[in-house]
Amino acid sequence: MSAGTGAAFSMRSNVLRHNLLTALLLGPATAWLVVFLVLPFVAIAVFSVGERAPEGGYQAAFTLAQYANLPARATAFWNTMVLAPAGALACLLVAYPVAYYLALRAPERWRLILLALVVIPFWTSLLMRTYAWMYVLGGRGIPALLAYVGLEDVRLINTPGAVLLGIVYGYLPLMILPIYVSLERLDRRLLEASADLGATPISTFLGVTLRLSLPGVMTGFSLVMILLLGEYLIPTLLGGGKVFFIGNALVDLFLQSRNWPFGSAIAITLVAVSVVVLLAANRISTRLSGARRVDLI
């Protein structure tokens, strides 16, 4: 056996070993995705072309009737399509100054502590925290304090304002972190250069800082918006269940009227809409930030 063949052989076996290793490393994650993402999705797709059994649940069929019936939940879709971007925008307006301060203004030694403070509330269930807001905004909470100073019978709970507050409170860290990350990587010399070249602080902010942090903004925005597309807890608890979102429609269809096929059709449509929103956000942010590729988590 010549030395050359031996080297080629060992190279080939290296490649093989490498491929095997890659397969082994990817295996668990792939299996996880197939079992917990792909299979359930296929099941829902199959349900969505089925029929509701007389007592509720699913009965095999092939019909597009469930999709034809989607207009029956048009209001829910509309409400969701308004809530999701509006909530994400409100979150953004609150989050940006915080992220800006953390990344560019906060003293180095405080930064980690402040970041931890942003994240710590997340270690308690969103459910518990939203329930807590019910009591803060409810009659024995802030309205009772207002009554002391003469403002009687103020109602805060079950108003659109309460829902907005709950959303901003609940999702704020998700918006702060990606913006912080993109601002933190900002090359400060660009700010100096901009100032040296005669730009006002405002135009430096708009032309340099904001522009370079857009990937973070879009990541945070998409993240919050996608979670809001499926939101039902906050509107139910803080809005009194008076405004109907897709999340509420799904809960009712699966747990009350047990119309699984219709619920599945709505779920598939919601996923499709989310994908479109994601792609659009990606496209916009790529264009705005000067053709830099943007990764949405």
Binding site: A72, L115, F122, S125, G138, L255
Partner: protein, 387 residues
């Protein structure tokens, strides 16, 4: 200089999302809340620990050492299961649920693992039709005495002369009013709905449940609580849409809002009414004179129960009036069993919220299976909620 953006972060974005999603699934143990979030079906929250394994010598012959029951939160005296374990060696695992629909879904999927469960009257015929509950072997329920039961309550558990379920307790669906805020006395559903649009504007709650919300809107016009007639449902829908902008909330979790004084009036089940009145005397419980709902929760045994002997043993134990009376004192619902009523303290029997006057009970209707599963009513409810 390459610096990873993760260096300064206390937690990675991926971990962060994992954490968030995990936390989003957290739970609170209220019946309404479980229903609201659908967590019951996803997790079948364990209300109790299984406890230490009893020694085999201690366990009664053939009963095994453990079983599980599906029921509602805060519906039993915890001591009942402790005592049962002490007597028989069988540890009882309690699964609590938010709605009958979740229980049904879990049983229909098979292998629920329950040997006893607590369905409400209107689901029993559906369970029977689907063939997932056992025709009860009454010989194994020596403590049950049908002659001591009010036949109005046993009827829903018996189909074609075969007993599929025996009653646990009963109750009604009326409304609770804060009489300090709404001083005009009310006695009817008509007044409930009219007040919601007048003095009770912005302070009234209705259930997030089509059976009762649509049913009680039908009572405004004197129609049947269970009506499926399109013209009658159309009138109920018209009323509901008119009332909607005046409501404080559409929610079955009304106790916090009533207690805090945010809501002044709400549709209300017996147990909640009794608890609210006990703690806040100015909250009254009213049964509409036009009628409305009367309900019974039953005990039944699934066909695929993994430990039927223990299921029967526990059911028989619960049918012992001395045990049952403690259950009723713990959860506050009225009993169907004359032997239990004889043991209950006078102030419980005299409580008009728990044991209303006969003439108020007369027009009440049991919710029907068809009412609950009707797609038309489900769509009406969706239109009401999205209006």
């Amino acid at each position: 200089m390459s610096k990873s953006y993760r260096d300064g972060l206390p937690i990675s974005p991926e971990k962060f999302i994992d954490q968030l999603m995990r936390l989003k699934r957290g739970s609170i143990g209220r019946r309404e809340f479980l229903g609201l979030t659908g967590l019951g079906i996803a997790t079948a929250v364990m209300a109790r620990e299984l406890g230490i394994m009893p020694s085999p010598a201690f366990a009664q012959e053939g009963l095994g050492d453990r079983m599980s029951i599906a029921t509602w939160p805060n519906y039993h005296d915890p001591a009942t299961f402790e005592n049962f374990k002490a007597e028989t060696g069988v540890a009882v695992e309690v699964n609590v649920f938010g709605s009958n629909e979740e229980m049904l879904a879990k049983l229909q999927a098979g292998a629920s693992g329950w040997s006893l469960f607590v369905p409400t009257n209107y689901t029993i015929s559906t369970y029977k039709k689907l063939g997932i509950i056992e025709a009860l072997d009454m010989a194994k329920l020596a403590n049950y005495d049908g002659s001591q039961e009010d036949p109005r309550f046993t009827g829903e558990g018996t189909i074609d002369g075969v007993t599929y379920a025996v009653p646990k307790n009963w109750g009604t669906t009326g409304f609770a009013v804060n009489t300090k805020k709404l001083t005009k006395p009310m006695t009817s559903w008509k007044e409930f709905w009219d007040t919601a649009m007048a003095e009770g504007d912005g302070r009234t709650m209705v259930h997030d449940y089509q059976l009762t919300t649509i049913g009680n809107a039908l009572k405004y016009f004197g129609f049947s609580f269970n009506s499926l007639k399109p013209d009658e449902l159309a009138k109920a829908e018209e009323l509901l849409l008119k009332v909607k902008p005046h409501l404080f909330a559409v929610s079955s979790d009304y106790q916090p809002s009533m207690r805090a004084g945010d809501a002044w009036m709400t549709m209300c089940w017996t147990n909640d009414g009794a608890q609210l009145h006990r703690d806040i005397p100015e909250i009254a419980y009213v049964l509409g004179k036009e009628g409305g709902e009367i309900w019974t929760d039953f005990y039944a045994i699934p066909k695929d129960a993994p430990n039927k002997p223990a299921g029967y043993a526990l059911l028989n134990y619960l049918m012992n009036p001395k045990v049952a009376v403690k259950e009723h004192l713990a959860n506050g619902a009225p009993s169907t069993d004359a032997r239990v009523n004889a043991l209950l303290p006078k102030e419980v029997l005299d409580n008009p919220i728990l044991y209303p006057a006969a003439d108020l009970l007369k027009p009440l209707e049991f919710g029907a299976a068809a009412t609950l599963t009707d797609p038309g009513r489900a769509e009406l409810m969706a239109r009401f909620k999205s209006a």
